[in-house]
Symmetry: C2
Subunit: 281 residues, 2 copies
């Protein structure tokens, strides 16, 4: 596995790979890899000739009061894990290389970026779309891989790629969970033992939702109330949002149907976790 | 010369050309071609294997009170002129194909897009950057050609390409002028005979500016006052702006130096014309 920390060298390699007609799979991450990332890397390795994993922690998607400084980093561990999962290149550019003095260009995806996490984290998805389009420009992937856990993110990236006529296929893979159901996330490392227990409430609420839908409930407000109850029972939990939305537009729906995404964000102590389920009534 | 009006077919052709290692030169225009455009096409033909010219009139760069509906169009004439200049493909997608229902993605270049024409035409350069990144995605050029007349536009596009790590070389060619000095523009067709005479004041003012600089004047305010005088002498002329700016950042300068761009926009009757000169004291 090659380690590349310069944009210029990564772009040069991408150009050579294109010339050699090699297909490139790309897994953009912010590092501190977990099994969710590894499942993306392994799948990419099955689909494409060369798999590039980026571990750039993107400052533009954090607001000043968020956890940029404390975001977990461990490059040695990432190297080892990416290599074992089959990555061919680990790309880790510097902030100065990605956003030099005078950097000025931003991408906005109106609509799907304005709901859910976009409402709570203004500017977040502008930062995400901007870094992803930059990474796409450097890596020139044929297929890029995202996790269903960050549902809104992958919907926004897909919309951006479609709107800007980019020739990249966006593949979204299922959320990988711990044995007890907690969705894998680099931020899980922030949780204390007590919080780690309480954090199960996100998945428990989603399971409750799926059960209710299975028994015929279609009223989004009623379902969300049931979910709230489960989460509010946990002392360290504070709901940021629970919303039933259309899977494509991310607009709120009042009745659950096929293609409804139930999404939630919950603070467990100071750690903000997200999770979601696509409902199939 | 091929005529292509579908994005899908254009994108397919671009992909084939890439596979065949053909270099692609791209001249994005809004049609109603003139000698300025033809000089871009001819130069592109010297540099690259295949020259694509687009003539899409981009609604996103017009504000509601601007001349979108009346913008001059003559596809037959464009076809003939592009063919004679050596274009290989004339690309003319529909508005519905470029901006389908639910279109959501926009590119902003902060800083250079906020001055000069950007101040007077809010949203204009967002529209320009957005359509150009889309066209780049579809055409996949190696080199794209722009005219110096639209100085701010090419500075913004260059900044976008640099910031977003796009592998495209932006080539800016000198403004082509009528024999009497008027900068070529599709909008010149709006001018009455009387206005056509008055319109010379833009170039006359720039010539006066260059003369003053040659004789040692460096004070931007003084030079701009001289220019204003020339333009105000024309009954149909109304100044939108005259500004001396840094050629790269487009920030106003008070002292003229190498790398100063003198830019102006003037309404001649209802027609808004722009022109500029790079100063070399």
């Amino acid at each position: 596995m090659k380690l590349i920390d310069s944009i210029q060298r990564m772009a040069m390699l991408s150009k050579i790979l294109k010339k050699e007609s090699k297909t490139v799979g790309f897994v953009p991450t912010m590092g501190y890899l977990h099994d969710g990332h590894l499942s993306l890397i392994k799948t990419a390795k099955q689909h494409t000739d060369i798999v590039v994993v980026s571990i750039f922690v993107n400052p533009k998607q954090f607001s000043p009061d968020e956890d940029l400084a404390s975001y977990p980093r461990d490059i040695k561990r990432d190297e080892e894990m990416a290599r074992l999962a089959g990555a061919d290149v680990l790309f880790n550019p510097s902030v100065e290389d990605m956003y030099p003095e005078g950097y000025a260009t931003y991408v906005d995806v109106k609509g799907p970026a304005d709901t859910l996490c976009g409402k709570m984290r203004p500017g977040h998805f502008r930062g995400v779309a901007t870094v992803v389009i930059k990474l796409f420009g450097i890596v020139k992937p044929d297929i890029a891989y995202f996790g269903q856990k960050d549902a809104q993110q992958s919907i926004i990236i897909r919309k951006m790629v479609e709107d800007l006529n980019m020739d990249i296929y966006i593949k979204v893979l299922p959320t990988v969970r711990e044995k007890d159901g907690l969705a894998m996330s680099s931020r899980n490392t922030y949780l204390s033992e007590k919080e780690r227990m309480d954090a199960l409430c996100l998945n428990q609420a989603l399971e409750k939702c799926e059960e209710a839908v299975k028994s015929g409930e279609r009223d989004a407000v009623k379902i969300i109330k049931m979910m709230e109850k489960i989460i509010k029972a946990k002392p360290t939990a504070r709901i940021d949002y629970i919303e039933a939305v259309d899977m494509k537009t991310l607009r709120a729906v009042s009745t659950v149907s096929g293609g409804t995404l139930m999404a939630l964000a919950v603070f467990i102590g100071k750690t903000r976790l997200i999770d979601n389920a696509i409902l199939n009534p």
